[in-house]
């Protein structure tokens, strides 16, 4: 067993072996974040339910009547909550991933592990909050007397893609942020604008036909649409072109983000 110290770093077979070697640490970091987060709050998990719930109420009051005709027989609160649920997963994972190096700053200077474990554990940790909040969606659906079909299993694919996408963006932004602090200031604004560019509170049919394909470059368009369709099965399945564009954009960002991160990971601590 040995390792090499070299000026450059990148993606190689060693990299994958190493991730495998340190896999336990990923799990520990995820658990640590969750434990710490829940120990410090009074109502713990409820926060991840209250947040989308409150937004759902606001959206319903403001947009409920505007969009109700365009979403078929799906009650608007369910429409909004499901969108918020997936959006919250994506945006939390991305934001935490982008800030992971800063949060692990002191550890990174004193101990070695593949640096990508930092964003990865935060991105994966966000899934936990998603499942907590998903309980609330289940309760809401029961309230409205709706069940789920076998198609709901496809949600797993949506979750994987959403996680890959937030990992890609998270790695990219974390790498830039280590060098230029601007990212941490721009992040809240970016996420806000991004949410308005995603079909969270409105159906994607609301966006003009001429913008449809450009709109789909935002991977959250396809993912949120699919998520709703798999859970509620209302209306036609999302179009294949939107799906394809979203998937390509997701995978590109994932590869780019991880590659950029790996390129600079060896000297990240110097500028952090």
């Amino acid at each position: 067993m040995h390792y090499d110290v070299r000026p450059t770093s990148g993606i190689s077979r060693d990299f994958l072996n190493e991730i495998w070697f340190f896999r336990r640490l990923v799990w520990l970091f995820i658990r640590r974040e969750i434990v710490i987060r829940y120990k410090n709050t009074l109502i713990g998990a409820a926060w991840y339910i209250l947040q989308p719930l409150a937004m759902m109420v606001v959206f319903t009051l403001v947009f409920g009547s505007v969009f109700s005709r365009q979403i078929g027989d799906l009650p608007y609160p369910l429409f909004a909550f499901s969108g918020l649920l997936l959006w919250q997963l994506f945006s939390r994972a991305l934001t935490l991933g982008a800030q992971s190096l800063v949060m692990f700053q002191s550890m990174l200077g004193k101990i070695y592990f593949p640096r990508i474990i930092a964003p990865a554990s935060f991105v994966l940790g966000a899934l936990f909050d998603f499942f907590v909040a998903a309980l609330a969606l289940a309760a809401l659906m029961a309230w409205y007397g709706r069940g789920v079909g076998p198609a709901v299993a496809g949600v797993l694919v949506v979750l994987v893609l959403s996680t890959l996408c937030s990992m890609g963006w998270g790695c990219l932004l974390a790498a830039v942020d280590a060098r230029y602090r601007d990212v941490r200031h721009a992040l809240p604004l970016l996420m806000q604008v991004w949410m308005f560019c995603s079909p969270v509170m409105y159906p994607s049919t609301y966006v003009g036909e001429q913008w449809r394909l450009l709109y789909a470059v935002n991977p959250m368009v396809g993912l949120i649409e699919w998520f709703r369709w798999l859970v509620f099965q209302v209306g036609p399945a999302p179009a294949w072109d939107i799906t394809a564009i979203g998937m390509v954009s997701t995978l590109l960002v994932f590869v780019l983000g991880v590659a950029v991160f790996q390129k600079v990971q060896g000297t990240l601590v110097d500028t952090l």
Binding site: H2, Y3, D4, V5, I111, D270
Partner: protein, 402 residues
């Protein structure tokens, strides 16, 4: 060739960028500088660099216990960080064989809200122990720390000393084939430090390889079979601890109180020293000067502190906020003393520059190196986040007690 080697390094070099003064170093600033340079603006020159590690080659065989000594800023910690992969070198390469343990800090990953038990498991895993290994050693770790009754308590309720004891206890139970050890024992009470060192000493007897950075030269001399001397990023000597330490001591002696410029005839500095060359961030530095004067008169003195890149980081403000403070000198030997709070970034070496002037002009300049150790002086909230408030050291006590 790798059969009995633990570490092999070739021409390792690490270059750091000096932080830009002035600009915020943001994205726009960085791009702007690049554009201005393209446009031929000389003021937008590239930031300067320095080599923290310069062409270091070495072989360490399995089972060797190697100490590294040198002034701070000489590159010892940088060498450890490069060999442990915490940061990549700028040049050169190295290979390390065997399971590696690194103890560059105690309590890495400790969190105030987690219980003692949870922190032991977390910290152990971060140091590279497996869960089974930690479970097996758990009782020993707790017993060593003498904290049997407190393991289910969140460590935010621990005293500082208890925290350090737990952290050190996990550290000394780390078992690996190659162990990198930075000055981590300069924490906690003396008795526990000694106990921890004794435990490390037991480990060095086996065929484990150790690379140790310590300021305590006696420790190095006792534990190590080989010692490296570093200066300005270079490896300047490699040999028996006794020889290397002797040379290092000579260097320290000749550096301390070195007269940079000659004294004016009426005033000479015959001795200039610091009570200690290592000071915890926030503690005080005591400077002692012996000045010989031909006749009674008045001199003025000024202090400034430079970091290892030569930048002035602080200057003493004397009476009336003036840099130069008047001192009355008498014929013969004058003993002078001055105290300076070491509110500087930790883990770096600095030079204290003492200047003395008389009416005839500059009389003497002495440069005294010192190192700030321990943690940076910062203010934290309960969750351990740094607050953007200047921190000053304070100590509370009951009125009437010493």
């Amino acid at each position: 060739m790798s059969g009995d080697l633990a570490i092999h390094a070739e021409h390792l070099g690490k270059r750091y960028r000096l932080r830009q003064q002035g600009g915020m170093g943001g994205l726009v600033d960085g791009l702007g500088r690049r554009l201005r340079r393209l446009a031929g603006d000389d003021a937008a020159a590239p930031p300067s660099h320095f080599w923290a590690l310069d062409d270091v080659s070495l072989d360490i065989r399995k089972g060797e216990v190697v100490g590294i000594v040198g002034h701070n800023g000489a590159g010892k910690s940088t060498l450890l960080k490069v060999l442990t992969r915490i940061t990549n070198p700028t040049r050169g390469s190295a290979r390390v064989w065997g399971r590696v343990g690194m103890l560059l800090e105690v309590g890495t990953g400790f969190h105030a809200d987690l219980s003692g038990r949870e922190n032991v498991f977390m910290n152990g895993a971060i140091l590279g122990m497996t869960q089974a290994e930690i479970r097996r050693k758990y009782d020993d770790i707790v017993a060593f720390a003498e904290l049997e009754d407190f393991m289910d308590l969140a460590i935010r309720h621990y005293s500082n000393g208890m925290c350090l004891r737990l952290a050190l206890s996990v550290a000394v139970h780390l078992d690996a084939e190659v162990i990198f050890l930075d000055e981590i024992w300069a924490v906690g009470d003396l008795a526990f430090q000694t106990k921890s060192w004794r435990r490390i000493e037991e480990l060095t007897g086996s065929d484990r390889t150790f690379v140790i950075v310590a300021h305590n030269l006696d420790t190095i001399e006792r534990l190590c079979g080989r010692c490296l001397l570093m200066d300005h990023g270079r490896l300047t000597m490699d040999g028996k601890p006794a020889d290397v330490i002797a040379r290092y001591r000579d260097e320290v002696q000749s550096r301390a109180g070195r007269l940079v410029t000659g004294g004016a005839p009426s005033l000479r500095v015959t001795e200039a020293r610091l009570d200690t060359q290592e000071v915890h961030a926030g503690d005080s530095l005591d400077i002692r000067l012996v000045v010989e004067a031909d006749s009674a008169g008045e001199a003025t003195a000024a202090l400034s502190v430079r970091d290892d890149t030569g930048r002035t980081v602080a200057a003493g403000a004397g009476a009336d906020h003036q840099r130069w403070t008047a001192l009355a000198v008498e014929p013969g030997r004058n003993r002078l003393r001055c105290t300076l709070p070491a509110c500087f970034a930790a883990d770096r070496t600095y030079s204290l520059v003492v200047e003395l002037r008389t009416v005839q002009g500059l009389a003497a300049v002495s440069e005294l190196p010192f190192t700030v150790i321990g943690r940076d002086l910062v203010l934290m909230d309960a969750a351990g986040n740094e607050l953007p408030v200047p921190a000053v050291p304070v100590a509370w006590r009951r009125d009437g007690e010493q």
